[in-house]
């Protein structure tokens, strides 16, 4: 695979890794997603931006079925997520066991880290490989130590999460997700809960993941520097739809839509 990071992968006829069509969702009266279409190719890094309430986090949570959807299709690696088609295109929700297996291939990193506080760092990372994938303790431990090394925290294996800074906790959370060897990583505002001086270390880890490991990534974030440097595409979501979808250089300098310009004028 080439390491060219500037442009999106050339338009081959390869199927997209994440394929979302007409995704709709409402919370009671409130329509949060009004037909979102989005394709993410293998190895691509997509940054989703937009005002709060625009549906970006909800959409991300739909991608691994942490939220149910009311209409549409989400496929990851060719498999529909969370539902199968019934008669007349009706969505039938899969059982919890099936959904769990589907989620195992989709890594997710949360705004509030969500490490398991009753487990040491190393056990946080080993938990899912051992229980979900059936990996042996020794192999899980070896892999966990490798991952801790790669996020720059090899000496923290036997600490409890509460003894770590926010930035360190988020890097452990990234290692925990990577331990499942996911096909795609979802980042839900991974730096929003961090003190400003800790944002850099997390972005650096994400950057290396994209540039060195060629991980497919969907990131909800407002880190413009990260988007410019790493992303293949930047997307603006507002009012429950995708407003703008462009390479970052065009997205930030000459966006097509007035709504994007308006949003950028507030954050730049």
């Amino acid at each position: 695979m080439d390491t060219d990071t500037g442009a999106a992968p050339a338009g081959t006829n390869e199927a997209p890794l994440v394929h979302a069509v007409d995704v709709c969702k409402r919370f009671h009266q409130l329509e949060v997603l009004k037909g979102v279409n989005m394709d993410v190719m293998r190895g691509e890094v997509v940054v989703i931006m937009g005002p709060s309430g625009g549906g970006k986090s909800t959409f991300l949570r739909c991608l691994n079925h942490l939220e149910k959807i009311d209409r549409g299709t989400i496929e990851v690696n060719g498999h529909p997520i969370g539902y199968r088609r019934g008669s007349g295109d009706k969505l039938i929700e899969e059982s919890a066991g099936v959904v769990a297996r589907q989620r195992a291939d989709i890594g997710m990193v949360f705004q509030r880290f969500n490490l398991f506080p009753h487990m040491k760092v190393i056990d946080n990372i080993m938990l899912a490989p051992m229980n979900v994938r059936g990996v042996s303790r020794a192999a899980a431990r070896r892999r966990a130590l490798e991952l801790l090394e790669s996020v720059g925290l090899p000496q923290k294996a036997d600490e409890y999460p509460s003894r770590l800074s926010g930035g360190q906790q988020q890097r452990v959370a990234i290692a925990r997700a990577l331990a499942m060897d996911p096909k795609v990583m979802l980042f839900d505002e991974p730096t929003s809960a961090l003190d400003p001086e800790l944002v850099g270390e997390v972005l650096e880890t994400m950057k290396r993941l994209a540039l060195e490991n060629h991980m497919t990534m969907v990131c909800v974030t407002h880190e413009v520097g990260f988007a410019r440097e790493v992303a293949d595409r930047a997307i603006l979501m507002d009012g429950g739809v995708v407003v703008e979808d462009a390479p970052p250089e065009r997205f930030f300098s000459q966006p097509e839509h007035a709504r994007t310009r308006q949003f950028l004028s507030k954050i730049l």
């Binding site: 297996r101 589907q102 969500n114 398991f116 979900v132």
Partner: protein, 270 residues
């Protein structure tokens, strides 16, 4: 009055009677019985409380209504009434069939059962608040890792609930040890009943009740020590863990540093 103080008012504490009673083996079996009933009834309450707490937070009314009704009854009526109900009431109500003899003819069993059923209601609430104290983000993280509901319950929910519920649960053990004294009314020969029987024979009420009080204090002090130890071990906030109790301070003084004064390297290093 210039004479001696009236003997019946203040000075009539007969130390020989007190020390003889304290020294005798009169309370040996009753103390063991109280400890046994406390451990069995409270542990049964904990075991019953867990599924009831899970049922109580269920969204299915057929699952949570029976538990709601149970709590309504067992928290809304006096424990003493429940003890009499189970010990004496069941015999009359069911016309005392041989099947119920283990309960109706054995006050220790009936009393332990009543204490356990009553305690289950309180443990349900303690465990429920422990369940609801779990950050919703924990469920998100476990699900996103591909864990099934059962794996999530076993690896995340139960350990985190136990951590939050443990200190109040040990508190319930302390309460239970004192509540066993209510079993006096159904003729269980626990500490208080033994004391009553004794002072009815020798008419030294104050001395004998003092001895009984000392035995209860011994049991609750041991449990309190245990509680402090558990809270130091499991308490998330090391700095607000239990302070040494009255007995500790009297016995060993203030020499032991309080948890937040320990150097950080020592935390968890025992």
């Amino acid at each position: 009055m210039t004479g001696s103080i009236h003997p019946g008012v203040l000075m009539d504490f007969q130390f020989p009677v007190f020390f003889n009673a304290l020294n005798s083996d009169l309370f040996f079996v009753p103390v063991l019985l109280v400890i046994a009933i406390t451990l069995i009834a409270q542990t049964a309450g904990v075991i019953l409380g867990f599924p009831m707490a899970l049922a109580r937070i269920s969204k299915n009314p057929l699952v949570h209504w029976p538990v709601d009704l149970y709590l309504f009854i067992f928290r809304g009526t006096p424990l003493l009434l429940q003890i009499l109900f189970i010990s004496d009431g069941t015999a009359e109500f069911f016309n005392n069939p041989p099947l119920l003899y283990p309960i109706t003819r054995n006050p220790v069993v009936a009393g332990t059962l009543a204490l356990a059923l009553n305690e289950a209601a309180y443990m349900t609430e303690i465990i429920r608040s422990g369940l609801q104290a779990i950050d919703p983000g924990q469920y998100d993280a476990a699900r996103a890792l591909g864990m099934t509901p059962w794996q999530l319950t076993r690896k995340i929910v139960i350990p985190q609930t136990l951590r939050v519920s443990l200190p109040p649960t040990v508190n319930e053990y302390i309460n239970m040890s004192k509540n066993t004294s209510l079993l006096t009314v159904i003729a269980v020969t626990e500490i208080l009943a033994t004391a009553e029987r004794q002072y009815q024979a020798n008419f030294r009420v104050f001395e004998i009740l003092s001895v009984a009080a000392i035995w209860y204090l011994l049991i609750t002090t041991i449990l309190t020590q245990l509680q402090a130890r558990i809270e130091r071990r499991f308490g998330e906030r090391q700095d607000i863990a239990a302070q040494p109790g009255f007995a500790t301070r009297m016995l060993v003084g203030f020499r032991r540093p309080r948890p937040h004064e320990e150097p950080p390297e020592d935390i968890g290093g025992h």
